[in-house]
Amino acid sequence: MPIANFTIYLFTMFGIYALFAMSLNLQVGYAGLVNFGQVAFFALGAYTSALLVVKAGLPIAVGIIAGMLASGFFGCLLAWPTKSLKSDYWAITTLAAGEVIRLFALNEKWLTEGPFGVMNIPQPLEGLIDKYYNIFYFIFVLIVVAVVYMLLSMLTDSPFGRNLKAIRDAEDLSKSLGKNTQKIKVQVMAIGGLVAGLAGAIFAHYMVYISPENFRPLETFLIWGMIIVGGRANNRGAILGAVVIQTFYVSTRFVGNYVPIGSDLMSAARMIVIGLLMVSFLIFRPEGLLRERKKTYPDEV
């Protein structure tokens, strides 16, 4: 059953990355806030949940929720100094924050076990479901993706979502219409953080083992690739991008079996393709595979 197992693994990863990509999409696609350190939120969710469950013995549900909250709080914290600044500053501060979180995980061995990582992370209901556990976990992830997709769509369709798009396209105008753009930016970083933290926590409990290696800047670039290829300001685009990029990323592992090329070079080649894909999409199809949908109001009045 290795192929079946692999397929289930791949689909579970689609789900986790779809959540991760949707969180970035909310910030970048809707609000135009360039976040180059999204992996920090993912890592915070993963570590918070894993450590609370492994070291403090708390229930997994509590761990996941705490992971979301920690990550959401970090979003607020990060938005604070930059909320009145241009997007260039967002880009660099988020990039740097991502590195600081990784350094923390690497250096604070008393808490995070440093480079050795956190092992034996419990999985939800693991004693109850034996044989088909990975199918169970996949269904669990699928349900979470569906719920998050629904909630995010409700948000982006609401006046809140409209405010985000206005900040993205014309921040001055939003201010002149009385919108508290700074507060909205903090809110959107918090919500993006919650979702990325959720993705991270689910990732940690799925992998059973996490270390700083899982949270390299590479992860941020991957989800950037996803929303650029899939399409921004469109949650379906983020999901499609997650599927496309993740399929490419995982499938190239098999190329190594047929082509005599080291794993390091393979991963370099893979990232070159993703980098070039980002550049080409932005030049030739900037809206991505699925474009932002025009919001119309059918005649109801």
């Binding site: 660099i92 501060t93 590195e99 370099a268 990232m271 070159i272 980098g275 980002m278 030049i283």
Partner: protein, 304 residues
């Protein structure tokens, strides 16, 4: 650590970062976007220089010059093939910035594909370091300071005594006007890329010579270089130099400080000596960056 040693280390670090920050700040000033591929090209150029020097046996200085020129040319080519078209299309600065991020990923991994991830050392003669006022400084480090000083004087002359420099300053002062004479400014923009990347390669090679050369070098210095540029007031090349020196000092002072007395609250508690773990050295520029953004986002030389 001796104060004189801190000064020497800071000067060297500041000199290296200056050469990198000048180009970043210039591109931001003229084209209005942050170039996230900047330091990646510096690392790429350092690899080129390494290849010329240790594989082809070309003299080190000549290798660096060749690498700087080549990388500068790549900068021009990328402007012609990508950025010029996007400018004509009035692409948003946000798009430009993300494109540079994608470009950075590609170039970093191209280095990895060509030269592999294993770290490299520039072959340097092992000589007894000199002692100046109690500070140890190697001949290589002296050379780095000397070349950095020459490069900066050259940059100043370039900016003030050449047609290119005058045009560049004119564009910087009045971007509306510059757009009206598009052809001239397009040429200037290409020269600017050339200068930016050439200088970045010199700075990047210095870092690689002093420490190590590896594909992630570019990514590892992106935060300090941005920090230097923002600290000095982004868009101002002289500010970038000042910012780089300030950051160089801040990093070295913070690393050598003993925070013990501070946390013992005047001897109330015995906490012994408390020094920042070197594992956090990369975080210093981040902390300084956040402080600058909170207190004065326009930088040391900037207006409010």
């Amino acid at each position: 650590m001796e104060i004189s040693q801190i000064i020497v280390n800071s000067l060297i670090r500041g000199a290296e970062l200056s050469l990198l920050a000048i180009g970043l700040t210039m591109v931001y000033d003229i084209l209005g976007f942050a170039n996230f591929a900047h330091t990646e090209f510096a690392a790429f150029g350092a690899f080129l220089g390494f290849t010329f020097n240790s594989l082809l046996g070309i003299n080190l200085l000549l290798s660096v010059v060749l690498a700087a020129l080549l990388t500068g040319l790549i900068g021009i080519l990328l402007d012609l093939s990508i950025f010029e078209k996007l400018r004509a299309r009035n692409a948003k600065t946000l798009t430009m910035m993300i494109i540079t991020m994608g470009m950075g990923i590609a170039i970093r991994n191209i280095s990895r594909l060509i030269w592999t991830s294993s770290t490299k050392n520039f072959p340097m003669p092992l000589l007894q370091p000199l002692k100046i006022l109690g500070a140890r400084i190697t001949r290589v480090q002296l050379g780095i300071l000397f070349i950095a000083a020459i490069s900066m004087v050259a940059f100043h002359l370039l900016l003030h005594h050449t047609k290119f420099g005058k045009a560049l300053r004119a564009i910087s002062d009045n971007k509306e006007l510059a757009r009206a004479s598009a052809i001239d400014s397009a040429k200037m923009v290409q020269w600017m890329w050339f200068v930016a990347y050439s200088y970045a390669v010199i700075g990047g090679t210095m870092l690689a010579i002093e420490h190590l050369l590896y594909p992630r070098l570019g990514f590892d210095i992106i935060i300090p270089v941005f920090c230097a540029a923002i600290l000095g007031g982004i868009g101002n090349p002289y500010g970038a130099v000042l910012g780089a020196l300030t950051l160089g000092f801040a990093e070295n002072v913070i690393i050598s400080l003993d925070f013990g007395p501070l946390f013992s609250l005047g001897g109330l508690f015995d906490v012994g000596s408390l020094q920042l773990s070197t594992g956090y050295k990369p975080a210093i520029s981040f902390m300084i960056l956040i402080l600058v953004l909170l207190i004065k986002p326009t930088g040391i030389l900037g207006e409010n």
